[in-house]
Symmetry: none
Subunit: 192 residues, 4 copies
DNA sequence: GTATAAGCGAGACGGTACGTCTTGTCTTGGC
DNA sequence: GCCAAGACAAGACGTACCGTCTCGCTTATAC
């Protein structure tokens, strides 16, 4: 996609990883609000132009820096008992959203997306939350024969704990055991 | 804190309303991202210090400017058929979050709250979404005798459509009729 | 000219002098080529905007910082013997152009003016060299009854030593005694 | 210095001339101030390193690009009537300094030399102006038997019109006829 | 009625991030 | 080993906004 001709100095992989690591570090040390492109470049020991050459804004570089972590933290084995797998997934989701650094970045990006179309498009390009839930949701849907679409089921599963956390209530009041059980019962009910 | 002695020139109510109106107008015209304290003051024909005197940051003035609208848009009559009232409320909620100016402001504030403790405290000071749902949620809880707490029930009601909208899917795919029905069935089910 | 209305915070005189002193200091310490608006602002302990608010470019601030010195260094008493006064003036001129800090600045500005219309206009707004020579030139013209205009006479006086210095030959080879004498003889000659 | 061993690819003459032509063109099109090494290389269709390999800075390449033109424009036949030859030379000098592209480049370089020792050394390496005047000046000196050195005479001839042009007065007010006459009379006068 | 106090609009202040630009160097593959 | 291409680190550019400050003016209560 980049440098199709093969001519010119190739992209420096070390610069790329230095930037991503700098973002990770700074996110922990000073937080999202204090992140600046200038600060990232300086911390990475990289020219500012090099950052702008490969990422067009703070959101893009932050997204790339945390997407891998996010995927890893949200992936659960699956394939076992549906109820158990659901609870495991919800625990991972709650931990990610409320305690993980990658989750902090993701919440900030989701916030930014509410008033920045570029960030919204970036997040829409890959539905990290939806993807992470896909396996357990599909297993539950198949086992129940529900009429709910994947999207409806995903919203039903993720929505309640997400609202809880986004509205500042923290993760303590969330009972993933109950959430999993209610989710399954709603799916199993013939009328929906 | 403010003029306890009664001496000195009193606060100018016209300046206050001019600021709030300027915020409303600018939010529509240029959007949240382009809002600046400088721009607000200039649009209101007010000194910048006057804005800072009464609101400590952009979030506070925006919150005050949209809270009244938010409350009005989210208040539904209630007292009728529970299912019907729930659907009416959900329609109002979806319209607020996805189409209203006040809702745009609220989403932006909720986003900011994810990485700004001051904004988080501001939103926590009054749970606009939760309050708005309280009447219909309580009516449904009382009618069903559910074991779910008010908070759990509220998250169950608001979470799914909120996730849908916040993740950039828009409001079109939301079936408030089904959401209301599923919500009631979950409450009525003895096991939860 | 500035702040005609009298409203708003008045210009800070201390900031203005801090900038001019910073320019003076930096010119000596790091030289003209290394002067930057950023560096001036930092050295003066002043915001960069403050510099840009009152001077539109490096040339303007440098001009203001050195014009006073230039005028002082080039002013000679006059009123005595024409030949003596001319030599005194030429000595001052040569010292200014070849050794003084203000003269270094002036040569740099004159150089910049050759390819920057703004700087050219700035220098044209006040002909520092011409002005400084005016008194001695007029005295000589009046005493001789020459047909040469002020401008022609000024060029005749200043041109040769200026060429010498600008072309990098330094000041050592300049005999101001002879220059003064030749200048007077050219003026006194009836044919010119 | 350059490729003494004869090994490796020889210097590309076409690259060299492409650079010099690019400088000539850009000087006319965008002016000296906007000239950049990057722009020169791109215009010449040449790698930037190739420019740096043969010229160490903007001044050097500009000097080489305009020196030939400068020499040509300033060379006058000579050998005729001294007064006539002087006037011809002064006309060429004034045209060069005030209207020629090469002259524009030369004025810019002379300006740069005032605060850049490298450029000063470059210009000092070959005294283009002095050389150009040498023939007519020597002819006049020999004919007059003046006591003035070549350098003094050259400064006397070139200085006044140079000051006129460098100080932004343009070429219109210069009377080369009179300048030539005065120059000759000063040389002929026994006392100098 | 006059002193005192505080709010007001305006706008300059020091500070700092923005995204772009140019510099001179380095690193590819191709000639 | 030169060449075109183009990425690299560095750092200045001029602009924008931040939150504070300093003016003269206005509008109140308190003496």
């Amino acid at each position: 996609m980049v440098d199709e001709s093969g001519r010119g100095r190739p992209r420096s992989e070390s610069a790329r990883t230095a930037v991503l690591h700098a973002v990770d570090d700074l996110l922990v040390e000073i937080g999202y609000a204090a992140l600046t492109m200038k600060g990232i470049a300086e911390r990475a020991g990289v020219g500012r132009q090099t950052v702008y050459r490969w990422w067009s804004n703070k959101a893009e570089v932050l997204y790339e820096a945390s997407a891998i972590d996010a995927g890893r933290e949200l992936s659960v084995p699956g394939g076992g008992d549906p109820h158990e797998d659901l609870k495991t997934y919800l625990d991972a989701l709650v931990a990610f959203l409320s305690r993980s650094h990658a989750g902090t970045a993701y919440r900030a990006l989701m916030g930014e997306a509410q008033h920045d179309a570029d960030v919204a498009a970036l997040l829409a390009s890959r539905d990290i939350l939806g993807e992470s839930a896909a396996a357990v949701v599909e297993a539950a849907r198949n086992a129940s024969g529900t009429a709910l679409s994947s999207e409806q089921a995903t919203a039903l599963l993720i929505g309640p704990p997400l609202f809880h956390i986004l509205s500042g209530r923290g993760a303590d009041g969330i009972d993933t055991e109950q959430l999993a059980e209610r989710f399954l019962r709603t799916l199993n009910h013939p009328g929906t």
